[in-house]
C-alpha cells in the first residue's frame, strides 16, 4: 500500500503541446481517486506518467516515500488495467494472470496459488484454461483485473477499463471493481470520461480540462460546490443550467429578461455573473418564475422538461410522480439552488 504524491508535475510533448499543466496533489493510502474529463483533457497522460509509460517533463512523482520519476514501470509496484484489456492473446487466462509473477522469478507453486486465489475472487476458475478470444467482454475485463490483483501491487491504475462494455455490464463491473478495491485496500487511480462512473466509484474526484485541474473533491463536493462552470456542466446529468445575470445593488440577481431570482449573490460578486441552477433543484408548478415547457423527455424514473429561461436553454428534472404538460408553467427554486460564477474567470464566486 502506498500514498501517491504529485509535486509540480507537468507534461510537455516535444512538439510543444502541454498535455498536463503543472499540478500537485496527494492520494492517501487506500483511496480510490477518479480522474475525469472530456477526451484530450490530459487524464490518460497523467495516469500514464504515474504508470511510468510516459516520461515526466517536470516535477516529482512519489509512490510511498520514494521519487519514482526514473523508475521503470516494472519496478514501481503498480498494476494497470487497459481500456482494450491488452491481454496476451496466445496465452491462457492462467498464464495471462501469472505472467508478471513469472517474470519476477516467483516459484511456480506460489504463482499457481495466487492465480487460483485471484481467479476464485473474480469467478474465473472455470476459465483458467481458455484463451482471451474464447471469453466474453466482461470475462476479459475480469482477467485484466485478475492480472492486476495477483501481483498485489501498491497501486492500481485503470485507464477507462469499462468503456468497451455494454451499459448493463458496465454498471455491474463498476460495482465489482469498487468492491474489490475496498476489499484489497489498495490505492487506485481510475481514469474515465464518464461522470457517472466518477461519481459512483470515487472517494475523491479530480476534474481535468485542457490539461488543467479544475477541481479536486469528494463526489458530493464536486456536485454541490462546483468550483468552475466547467465542473458545473461536466458533473451531473443533465448538466447544470447556466444563465447570464446581473447583480443589483442589494445583491439581488436579475436575469437578462428581467426575472428576479430569489436568493442573494455573495459579497464581492461582479456586476454581471453566470447563474447556475441544477435541473433537479427546480420545483415545477410552484413559485412565481414563468417558464414555458417546449419538450418533455420521458426517462422512466424521471422526466426532463426543456424550455427557455433568461434567454438561455433551461432544463428541469422532475420525479415520475410529478405532473407536467408542454406549455406555460411556473417554477420555483429550492433553497441554496443558486451557483454564482464569474463570467471572466469562469470560477465560482
Amino acid at each position: 500500500m502506498a500514498q501517491v504524491t504529485l509535486e509540480q508535475l507537468r507534461k510537455v510533448y516535444p512538439n510543444g503541446n502541454e498535455a498536463v499543466q503543472t499540478c500537485s496533489f496527494q492520494i492517501p493510502d487506500g483511496e480510490f481517486v477518479v480522474l475525469v474529463g472530456p477526451s484530450g483533457c490530459g487524464k490518460s497522460t497523467l495516469l500514464r506518467m504515474i504508470a511510468g509509460l510516459e516520461e515526466i517533463s517536470d516535477g516529482s512523482l512519489y509512490i510511498g516515500d520514494a521519487v519514482v520519476n526514473d523508475v521503470d514501470p516494472a519496478d514501481r509496484n503498480i498494476a494497470m488495467v487497459f481500456q482494450n484489456y491488452a491481454l496476451y492473446p496466445h496465452m491462457t487466462v492462467e498464464r495471462n494472470m501469472g505472467y508478471g509473477l513469472r517474470n519476477r522469478g516467483i516459484p511456480k507453486a506460489d504463482i499457481d496459488a495466487k492465480v487460483r486465489e485471484a481467479a476464485s475472487m473474480l469467478n474465473l476458475t472455470e476459465y483458467l484454461d481458455r484463451r482471451p478470444s474464447q471469453l466474453s467482454g466482461g470475462q476479459r475485463q475480469r482477467v485484466a483485473m485478475g492480472r492486476a490483483i495477483v501481483r498485489q501491487p501498491e497501486l492500481f491504475l485503470f485507464d477507462e477499463p469499462l468503456s468497451n462494455l455494454d451499459a448493463k455490464l458496465r454498471n455491474q463491473m463498476r460495482i465489482e471493481i469498487k468492491a474489490l478495491q475496498r476489499r484489497l485496500g489498495t490505492t487506485a487511480v481510475y481514469v474515465t470520461h464518464d461522470q457517472v462512473e466518477a461519481m459512483t466509484m470515487a472517494d475523491r474526484i479530480i476534474v481535468l480540462n485542457e490539461g488543467r485541474i479544475e477541481q479536486i473533491g469528494t463526489p458530493s463536493d464536486v456536485y454541490n460546490h462546483p468550483e468552475s462552470t466547467f465542473v458545473a456542466s461536466f458533473i451531473g446529468a443533465p448538466p447544470m443550467n447556466l444563465m447570464p445575470a446581473t447583480v443589483g445593488a442589494d445583491q439581488a440577481i436579475t436575469l437578462s429578461d428581467g426575472t428576479v431570482l430569489a436568493g442573494r449573490a455573495p459579497e464581492g460578486a461582479p456586476g454581471s455573473v453566470l447563474v447556475g441552477v441544477r435541473p433537479e433543484d427546480v420545483l415545477i408548478g410552484a413559485g412565481d418564475i414563468p417558464f414555458t415547457i417546449d419538450i418533455i423527455e420521458e426517462l422512466g424514473a424521471l422526466r426532463l422538461l426543456h424550455g427557455q429561461l433568461g434567454g438561455a436553454p433551461f432544463s428541469v428534472s422532475i420525479g415520475k410522480d410529478e405532473q407536467a404538460q408542454a406549455g406555460p408553467s411556473t417554477i420555483g427554486l429550492k433553497p441554496d439552488a443558486l451557483h454564482i460564477f464569474d463570467p471572466q474567470t469562469q470560477r465560482r464566486v
Binding site: 504508470a51 509509460l53 516494472a74 494497470m80 487497459f82 491488452a86 491481454l87 496476451y88 517474470n103
Partner: protein
C-alpha cells in the same frame, strides 16, 4: 420453371469454373507427370526418342541410382547429399531471413530510434538491388572472408530480407501498443517481450514467410553456382545439371536419373507448402490479436 432458370445459370457458371480449373490443373501437372513417366526409361531411350508417354521398367533403378550412386567429377556426390545440401540451404535461408527481418522490424517499430523511418526505407530500397545486381561485390567479399565452399558463405550473404522486414513491420504495427505496455508493467524487458509475446503472436506470419523464403532458397541457382566449387556442397537444383547431366567419358547423359532427381527436387517445396498451409488457414480464421 422460375426456379430452374437461375439454378441452370449457376450450374453453367460452375461448369465453366470447373473447366477452367481442370484445364489449369492439367496444364500445371503435365510437365511433372511427363517427367515422372519419362524417369522410368533408360537414358538411351530418352536420348533417342525424347519425352515418353508410357511407363518403362527403369523407374526404381533410376531413382535408386539418382539418389545413391556417386557421381560427378570427383565421384563423391550422390542425390542424398545434394538433397541434404538443398535442405540446409533452404531451411537456413528461410530461418535466417525470418530471424534477421523480425529483429530489424522489431527495432524499427518498437524503439524510438533516430532515423528509424529512414533506416526502414533504406532497407526497403534494397529490394531494388537483388543478388544479381550486387553479385560481383558479394562474391568478392565472401571470397576474401574465405567463406567460399562453406554453408555460411552459401546462406549468410542472402539472409538480409527487405520483403521479410516489410511484412513483419506491417504486422508489428498492427499489434496494439497496450500489449507492449502491459508487458512492460508485467516486468518483461525488450528481449522477453519479443520472445514471449511477439514471436508467438507472429507465428502465422512466420509460417507464411517461411513458405516463401524456403522455396526461394531451395531454388537458388546462381549464388550456389558461384560460391561453391567443391562438389560436396552442390545442391539438387544445380546438381541435376552438373552431376547427372554431364557429358563425361563420351557417355550419354543420364536423362532418366536427371528426371528422377528433378521429381525429388520438386517434392520438399510442395510438402512445405502443404504442411504450412494448415497453419496458414488456421492463423487467418482464428482472430487472435
Amino acid at each position: 420453371m422460375t426456379q430452374t432458370s437461375p439454378r441452370r445459370r449457376i450450374r453453367w457458371s460452375t461448369v465453366s469454373d470447373h473447366t477452367i480449373l481442370t484445364l489449369g490443373a492439367i496444364l500445371m501437372m503435365a510437365p511433372p507427370l511427363l517427367a515422372f513417366i519419362s524417369a522410368s526409361h533408360d537414358a538411351v531411350t530418352i536420348h533417342r526418342e525424347g519425352i515418353q508417354l508410357g511407363f518403362g521398367d527403369q523407374l526404381g533403378t533410376n531413382f535408386r541410382k539418382a539418389m545413391f550412386e556417386k557421381g560427378g567429377f570427383t565421384q563423391t556426390v550422390d542425390g542424398t547429399l545434394m538433397l541434404i545440401n538443398s535442405l540446409i540451404l533452404g531451411i537456413g535461408f528461410a530461418v535466417g531471413k525470418i530471424i534477421i527481418s523480425m529483429m530489424a522490424a522489431y527495432a524499427i517499430v518498437y524503439f524510438r530510434l533516430r532515423f528509424a523511418t529512414l533506416a526502414f526505407w533504406m532497407i526497403f530500397t534494397t529490394l531494388l538491388l537483388p543478388l544479381e545486381v550486387r553479385i560481383l561485390p558479394s562474391y568478392e567479399a565472401i571470397q576474401r572472408l574465405g567463406l567460399t565452399n562453406t554453408y555460411t558463405g552459401l546462406i549468410v550473404p542472402l539472409i538480409a530480407s527487405a520483403t521479410g522486414t516489410f511484412f513483419f513491420r506491417q504486422f508489428f504495427m498492427s499489434v496494439p501498443e497496450e500489449l507492449a505496455e502491459a508487458a512492460r508493467i508485467d516486468g518483461a524487458g525488450p528481449v522477453k517481450f519479443f520472445i514471449d509475446i511477439l514471436v508467438p503472436l507472429s507465428r502465422t506470419m512466420i509460417a507464411a514467410i517461411f513458405i516463401i523464403m524456403f522455396v526461394f532458397g531451395w531454388n537458388q541457382y546462381l549464388w550456389p553456382t558461384l560460391i561453391t566449387t567443391d562438389e560436396s556442397f552442390f545442391t539438387l537444383v544445380r546438381g541435376i545439371k552438373q552431376i547427372v547431366l554431364s557429358y563425361t567419358d563420351a557417355q550419354i547423359p543420364e536423362h532418366g536419373q536427371a528426371l528422377a532427381l528433378a521429381i525429388i527436387a520438386m517434392l520438399p517445396p510442395v510438402l512445405i507448402v502443404v504442411f504450412f498451409q494448415n497453419w496458414f488457414v488456421k492463423g487467418l480464421t482464428e482472430s487472435d490479436k
